[in-house]
């Protein structure tokens, strides 16, 4: 197992260098530069432009800039934002817990509903429940996030007033946020009602962000289950008179899980992409909105640093998924 983990870890290095290079060059490939964007209609004199370019350090050749960036990254320095002038690292870690909290909730929501739904659909293949479920999943998968979020807000927050419209907690609560995870911090604050308020604020964004992964997981579970249910050993188990619950729940599901876990791992990327829209609509202070704003402002350090950190997160998740394969299927470990 250790060897397996180490070999997976080694593949990190080229991927990391590749991601650093891509994140550095992509934002520079876009037309327009941050100084012009910053100056706007007011314009800027040539002398002032040169001064600022020097200050931001991009009057130097591109390979020098890359080298400095790379050595900075290796020392844990991602530079300062052109706009807020604060370290990228600080900004990322101030915002990341919010994204992580929402993504975890969305993933729990998607798995908790998607997995059983897929299993039930597979077991009842071709029947009404199967068809209804799979059509709903298709709708869920195709739904524009923006529209879906606004619809939920108008119905549940506007008309029914069951949930708050946006934000992470009722603004009347004010307490320290040592972890950045609102659920934990609100509980730790001991303020009456804060925890419930935080939970209520999570409901709609979780549903919106979890909808697409939920649909994908349900469909993937169903098809993986169908494949497994057709295998010889399942027939044998049935012939032996094993109960359907035991066959489906233990023998079939466990073997169907490998492709499902792959999909869950890949969904992390989808979650981060979906988080951009979800966070914007629900005024959720996470990294999605931060990245988009920075791209528009051509805030190079934030875009390249943020992309790098997100890529590292996805890489870690993929590594974890690879490890999980080994746990579920010992054959993979030995290969």
């Amino acid at each position: 197992m250790l060897n397996y983990a180490l070999s997976r870890l080694l593949t990190f290095i080229p991927t990391f260098i590749g991601v650093t290079l891509i994140s550095f060059s992509f934002i520079r490939a876009l037309p327009g530069d941050p100084i012009q964007v910053m100056a706007g209609e007011r314009g800027i004199s040539d002398e002032r432009y040169a001064e600022l370019a020097k200050q931001f350090g991009y009057d130097r050749p591109i390979y020098v800039q890359f080298w400095e960036y790379l050595t900075g990254v290796l020392q844990g320095d991602l530079g300062n934002s052109f706009v807020t002038k604060r370290p990228v690292w600080d900004e990322f870690f101030a915002l990341f817990p919010a994204t992580l909290e929402l993504s975890i909730c969305a993933m729990i929501f998607a798995v908790a509903l998607g997995l059983p739904a897929g299993v039930i659909a597979a077991v009842n293949r071709g029947k009404f429940f199967d068809r209804a479920l799979m059509s709903t999943a298709l709708v869920g998968y195709s739904m524009p996030i923006f529209w879906w979020a606004l619809l939920l807000i108008i119905v549940f927050s506007g008309n029914l007033q069951w949930t708050p419209v946006s934000g992470r907690i009722d603004l009347l609560y004010y307490f320290p946020d040592p972890t950045g995870f609102m659920i934990i911090d609100s509980l730790a604050s001991g303020q009456k009602g804060a925890f419930v308020s935080a939970l209520r604020h999570l409901i709609l964004p979780t549903i919106v962000l979890g909808t697409i992964p939920l649909a994908v997981i349900a469909r993937q579970t169903r098809s993986a289950m169908l494949e497994v249910l057709g295998e010889d050993y399942i027939r044998t188990a049935r012939a032996k008179g094993m109960s359907p619950g035991r066959i489906n729940g233990i023998h079939a599901l466990r073997n169907a899980l490998i492709p499902v876990i792959t999909v869950i791992g890949l969904s992390v990327g989808t979650l981060l992409a979906g988080a951009i829209l979800t966070e914007t609509i629900f005024s959720w202070p996470g990294i999605g909105k931060w990245m988009v704003d920075s791209i528009f402002r051509r805030d190079y350090p934030v875009v390249q640093g943020g992309l790098l950190l997100i890529a590292v997160m996805v890489m870690i998740v993929n590594l974890t998924v690879d490890m999980l394969y080994g746990v579920i299927n010992p054959k993979i470990r030995k290969r």
């Binding site: 876009l30 037309p31 327009g32 530069d33 012009q36 964007v37 910053m38 100056a39 706007g40 209609e41 007011r42 314009g43 004199s45 002032r48 600022l52 200050q55 300062n80 052109f82 706009v83 807020t84 002038k85 604060r86 900004e91 101030a94 915002l95 919010a98 606004l150 807000i153 108008i154 927050s157 506007g158 007033q161 708050p164 419209v165 946006s166 934000g167 992470r168 603004l171 009347l172 609560y173 004010y174 307490f175 320290p176 946020d177 040592p178 914007t280 609509i281 629900f282 005024s283 959720w284 202070p285 996470g286 909105k289 931060w290 704003d293 051509r298």
Partner: protein, 529 residues
């Protein structure tokens, strides 16, 4: 925000006996501020969160007008030659305090000098702090204008200028001229955390900064030692809500009291809702189409005037602005002093336009119209506007090709003297002074810079140069009115629109005034029980 900082603020709060649940005004703002030192930034969102609640300036704009009134300076005097402005400072003004800093003295001349010196003097230790780029200080030509700032005594400061300049008082009321505490700056420099000046601001304003969580919330507490009229609510909260539809839902649900920038499409349903109050006012801006007046046939004012008559501006207001705009006939907005309302617009008349073009011998004309790639209040959809103009011009036999570039490129290329085509662009006023529109956008100095029409008219230029140095507003206004007549007659631009700014709020909000300079100011806003 670090844990320690919040704990410290919390401790401070509890010692002050202030409850977080006290009467709070919640404002749904559209985005996060870039920081809290207004001199470092140029965005209105940043000024709303920094200069208006936290700071004061020597002079300030009276809320709801572009008129300047005394603030931290009780009075000022301009010398005979117009080159020295002496400010008498207000006594007994207290700075806020926070966990790291408690002021030991009142506001005085040292704070004024420091506030400007750090922006213009490369030797000042704060010049490079927080990546200081001082955009507005440079943009308003302060380095060329201010020769020196002198401390006459603790409560008197003299600004020595390189030339007489009447708009200097209006400039002193701008956000970049906010007065920061020198004592705080020194303390932070000594503690090795000079960036705190930007991150944990200390000012003299009606609200003291309490806490900020990026992209989520900003909190302020009333400054009970405020020198002027104290704020009506105990705390002010900015709930950062980027999506306009969501802001509206939050106002409806009572999660916010006031919101900025509603979707134009929602305004009608807001007006129909009896639980929502909508206020409106023309924005201090203008959207225009600038011809290149140095290239034939656009060097002929009659051709430009003919083209102006071919544009159906009402259709643009309806389609592009969806009603949230007003037809512009002058290069300055109607809320600005010296606006010449007597001027007649070149009304939409395609027949007359066609005849006028023929009379000038212009036929089979082909031209380019540049459409901006970004949204601005003065032009929410430039591409659509250009298409409407293309259609209008085709009716008078002018063939239009629409071009666009990435925003930075667009701004740069449109400055070229030999530019091919007319440019859609606009301007939002900085200091409420007509000079800020007429000289910047149409003066001879602006050719190949911010004067996109490349228009240099000697008569017009002489008038605005003269108006710049006259001492009284009445004398200046007269000249600016004349300048607008010349502008209309020479038609370097087709003036298109001024945006209309809407503010949406709940009925319990009292005393909100829409500010023509665009800021959202809550100093005197209260909540009825």
């Amino acid at each position: 925000m670090s844990f320690n900082k919040i704990m410290a603020t919390g401790l401070l709060l509890s010692t002050l006996g202030v409850s977080a649940q006290a009467q709070s005004l919640v404002y749904c703002s559209e985005g996060s501020p870039e920081g809290f030192d207004p001199a470092l930034y140029t965005a209105g969102t940043t000024f709303d969160a920094s200069s208006h609640p936290i700071y004061n300036r020597l002079a300030e704009f009276k809320v709801g007008t572009t008129e300047t009134v005394p603030a931290l300076a009780e009075s000022w005097e301009v010398s005979e030659d117009g080159k020295t402005v002496t400010f008498k400072l207000r006594k007994g003004v207290k700075f806020h305090s926070n966990a790291q800093f408690t002021p030991t003295r009142d506001f005085n001349a040292d704070d004024v000098i420091f506030s400007f010196d750090r922006q213009g003097n490369a030797e000042n230790p704060y010049n490079q702090v927080s990546g200081g780029t001082w955009e507005y200080f440079g943009g308003m030509s302060m380095p060329d204008l201010i020769e020196s700032i002198e401390k006459v005594d603790d409560y008197t400061v003299a600004f020595n200028l390189t030339r007489p300049e009447a708009p200097i008082i209006a400039n002193m009321a701008m956000d970049f001229a906010s007065i920061v505490s020198k004592e705080y700056a020194d303390a932070m420099l000594e503690a090795g955390t000079p960036e705190m000046l930007n991150q944990a601001p200390i000012g003299t304003g009606p609200f003291a900064f309490q806490a900020y969580q990026k992209d989520a919330v900003i909190r302020y507490l009333r400054n009970d030692d405020y020198w002027g009229d104290k704020a009506k609510v105990e705390s002010l909260i900015f709930a950062i809500t980027p999506d306009a539809s969501v802001r509206f839902q939050k106002v409806q649900a009572g999660e916010c009291h006031v919101m900025a920038y509603p979707n134009p499409a929602d305004v009608q349903s807001m007006k129909d809702d009896s639980d929502i109050v909508v206020m409106e006012q023309e924005g201090l801006n203008v959207g225009y189409l600038a011809y290149n007046t140095q290239v034939a046939p656009f060097d002929n004012p009659k051709v430009r005037k003919a083209l102006n008559m071919a544009i159906d501006k009402q259709a643009i207001i309806d389609v592009v602005f969806q009603g949230s705009g007003q037809i512009a006939k002058n290069p300055i907005p109607p809320t600005m002093w010296s606006y010449n309302d007597a001027i007649e617009d070149d009304n939409y008349d395609p027949e007359a336009a066609k005849a006028a073009l023929e009379a000038e011998g212009v036929s089979d004309l082909s031209m380019k119209i540049w459409a901006m790639p970004v949204q601005r209040p003065y032009n929410p959809n430039a591409r659509r506007m250009a298409e409407l103009m293309q259609e209008d011009f085709s009716k008078v036999g002018v063939n239009v090709e629409i071009v666009s570039y990435e925003w930075g490129e667009y701004l740069e290329r449109s400055k070229a003297k030999d530019r091919d085509g007319a440019v859609l662009l606009g301007w939002t006023g900085d200091n409420g002074d007509p000079d800020n529109f007429l000289a910047v956008l149409l003066g001879c100095d602006g050719v190949e810079k911010s004067n996109r029409a490349q228009w240099c008219n000697e008569e017009f230029d002489a008038i605005i140069q003269k108006a710049k140095v006259l001492p009284t507003q009445a004398e200046r206004a007269k000249l600016y009115e004349e300048a607008q007549v010349i502008f209309k007659d020479q038609a370097p631009w087709a003036t298109i629109a001024h945006s209309v700014v809407y503010m949406t709020m709940r009925p319990e909000v009292e005393g909100y005034v829409v500010h023509p300079l665009g800021g959202h100011i809550f100093n005197q806003v209260g909540l009825s029980q």
